[in-house]
């Protein structure tokens, strides 16, 4: 067998090994080791194992991940989300579907300091669903919206997904953060549009709640401003060249912590809990990166990325159709394993093709992120839906029935970014020309 055949065989076996219940990161390490050992030598593969493992863990660049995860975890445990939801509730709760729209708006602001999809869905499942239950909202709408709003964090900075994409492709994390802002806000607006349309067709799904006075509304504004201020400092610091992403993660975490401690929203015990949970989440992500690094070295030896790129550009298909096919591969592949894991696995293979086809890598990152947003709410591996089910004890069929209308918004967002790449690449080209 030649290198390419060995590569394809090992990748196929890897996908089957994923189904055995083994941790995906460990499967990547094992298969990368075996493949590299077979093609080069097992002595070299053993050296590669230790070196890759040490290099990934002992890397300043990668410390950005645990720091932004910690920032999100403190935000998750400190009740900031509830205040943001309350603020949005007071402004728009009185219109049909207003509480669901408030969930979207609260989550959009919350995403500015919390990069985890599952944590956002969990937070708003705790905060917003009981409130929507109180006003008689249809459970399809209430559970569907909280499951879907979590996905916004994949696009809106500080997105862990975009950080990982940036690390894999060696792109500026600051530019990727900027590229995600307009598509993320656009999709959030589409979510609000879906709620409006749904409630217009069937007003019973989202009844009006009480109306608040302007005085009560204005009182909630400082909360939103504080979160927006922290976000602006973190992102502005990266854009202005004042901070590295790691420093931005540290400063953001520190500010959220001080704010939460000062308001007694979190205790020292709560912080310890946040740090402990962050270590586990960050470790999960970092092990995936370590696994993909080992597997990636093997894939590089097989020359599959280059051959795939050459093969794809030699196809007589229009380049845009090739990109659609790649996006579909991400969507389908992510459905069978895990969307983030599949992105880590597939990006080194398809990225060279995208570059050779002449597409903007930032745009591709945003497009892939939108497919991941769809992946985390569609079966079988719908992590945000699993989280909402666990908290609300609602049936899967009900939650999925609520998620599907929002998938239309996600699909529309993807189509818009696909047709109009400027939605993603205009902001970084203006604020952070590369």
């Amino acid at each position: 067998m030649n290198e390419v055949q060995v590569g394809l065989l090992v990748l196929t076996i890897t996908l089957f090994v994923f189904l055995t219940g083994i941790d995906l990161a460990f499967a990547m390490i094992i298969m990368g080791f075996l493949g590299f050992g077979y093609l080069i030598s097992f002595h070299a593969a053993m050296n590669l194992l230790a070196k890759d493992f040490y290099d990934v863990l002992n890397s300043y660049g990668f410390t950005v991940i645990p720091l932004f995860v910690l920032m999100g975890q403190i935000s998750f445990n400190s009740g900031i989300a509830k205040r943001l939801f309350d603020a949005a509730h007071k402004f728009i709760g009185h219109i049909p579907g207003g509480l669901a729209m408030a969930t979207v708006m609260g989550a959009t602001v919350f995403k500015a300091i919390c990069g985890s999809s599952a944590a956002t869905s969990a937070t708003f499942a705790f905060v917003a669903v009981p409130e929507m239950d109180r006003y008689g909202y249809d459970r399809r709408l209430s559970t569907g919206v909280v499951a879907t709003v979590g996905t916004l964090g994949i696009l809106l900075p500080p997105s862990v997904t975009l950080i990982i994409y940036g690390i894999i492709t060696d792109l500026s994390i600051g530019r990727l953060f900027l590229a995600g802002i307009f598509p993320g806000l656009m999709i959030a607006t589409f979510f609000v549009g879906v709620i409006y349309g749904w409630c217009k067709i069937n007003p019973a799904v989202g009844p009006k709640s009480e109306k608040y006075s302007w005085g009560e509304r204005i009182k909630t504004i400082p909360e939103v401003l504080i979160v927006v201020g922290i976000f602006s400092l973190v992102i502005g610091g990266i854009l202005g060249g004042f901070f590295t992403p790691t420093e931005a993660g540290s400063v953001g975490t520190f500010l959220v912590l001080i704010l939460s401690l000062a308001r007694r929203d979190i205790t020292i015990k709560g912080y310890i809990k946040s740090a402990s949970e962050s270590v586990r989440t960050a470790c999960m992500v970092m092990m995936l990166i370590a696994g993909s690094t080992v597997l990636g070295h093997f894939i590089a030896v097989t020359k599959i990325p280059m051959i795939t790129a050459d093969w794809l550009i030699s196809l007589t298909l229009p380049p845009s159709l090739i990109v659609i096919l790649i996006a579909l591969i991400y969507l389908i592949g992510g459905s069978f394993i895990d969307d983030l894991a599949f992105m880590i696995l597939a990006t080194p293979i398809f990225y060279p093709a995208i570059i050779k086809l002449g597409y903007d890598p930032l745009w591709f990152g945003i497009l892939i992120s939108i497919t991941i947003m769809m992946g985390v709410v569609i079966p079988p591996m719908a992590i945000c839906v699993f989280v909402v089910k666990q908290i609300t004890k609602e049936q899967f069929s009900t939650i999925y029935a609520g998620v599907y209308p929002f998938l239309i918004a996600l699909l529309l967002g993807g189509v818009m970014v696909f047709i109009f790449p400027q939605i993603a690449i205009w902001l970084p080209s203006v604020l952070m020309p590369g």
Binding site: F18, L19, T20, G21, I22, D23, L24, A25, F26, I29, I30, F33, M46, N47, L49, A50, K51, F53, Y54, L57, N58, S59, Y60, F62, T63, P66, L67, L70, F243, T246, E247, G249, S250, V251, T253, F254, I272, A275, S276, S278, V279, R280, T281, A282, C283, M284, M286, M287, L288, F336, I337, D338, L340, A341, P380, M381
Partner: protein, 160 residues
């Protein structure tokens, strides 16, 4: 059997405390550096200390992540098998994981020893690399202990 599982869990929790402390340390160190930098008093070697701290945070968090099964895995297919089949697959995957982490641990030990012999240190603070490499070697060993714990649970009928 029960004693072994308690030991593994306690060890993992202890290592998690170290990991959490390292994470908090790198956060505070970086913030201090950012602030002091504007007073023209940067903390020399922050870059390398944060890198080393990150290795401790992630490496020492590895066993507890496995104890709580926070790593991503796909169980739907295995769950279609009868209990015996599931047990066989679970034992096989844990044995494979033990084998790979034993290899990583052994090679990190060799790597650490070479770092110790060569006296390699960081550029500015002159911090030796070998203690971190030995630490990661220990973390991989602890990971093997957690996986052995999984096998113990399978045999004890308590693995979920």
């Amino acid at each position: 059997m029960g004693g072994y599982l308690v030991f593994v869990e306690k060890l993992s929790k202890l290592m998690n405390v170290i990991a959490g402390t390292a994470l908090s340390f790198i956060m505070l160190l970086t913030v201090a550096d950012v602030i002091l930098r504007y007073f023209k008093m940067p903390i020399v070697g922050t870059f390398e200390m944060v890198g080393l701290g990150g290795a401790i945070a992630i490496g020492f968090g590895m066993p507890i992540t496995s104890v709580f099964r926070n790593h991503i895995f796909v169980n739907d297919f295995v769950e279609k098998f009868p209990k015996t089949g599931q047990n066989i697959i679970n034992i096989a995957t844990r044995l494979a994981t033990i084998a790979i982490f034993a290899l990583i641990s052994y090679n990190l030990f060799l790597f650490s020893s070479s770092l110790l012999r060569s006296g390699e240190v960081t550029l500015t603070r002159q911090i030796p690399f070998y203690p971190i490499a030995y630490g990661l070697c220990f973390c991989c060993f602890a990971q093997c202990l957690v996986m052995i714990g999984d096998i113990v649970k399978v045999f004890g009928g308590t693995y979920e």
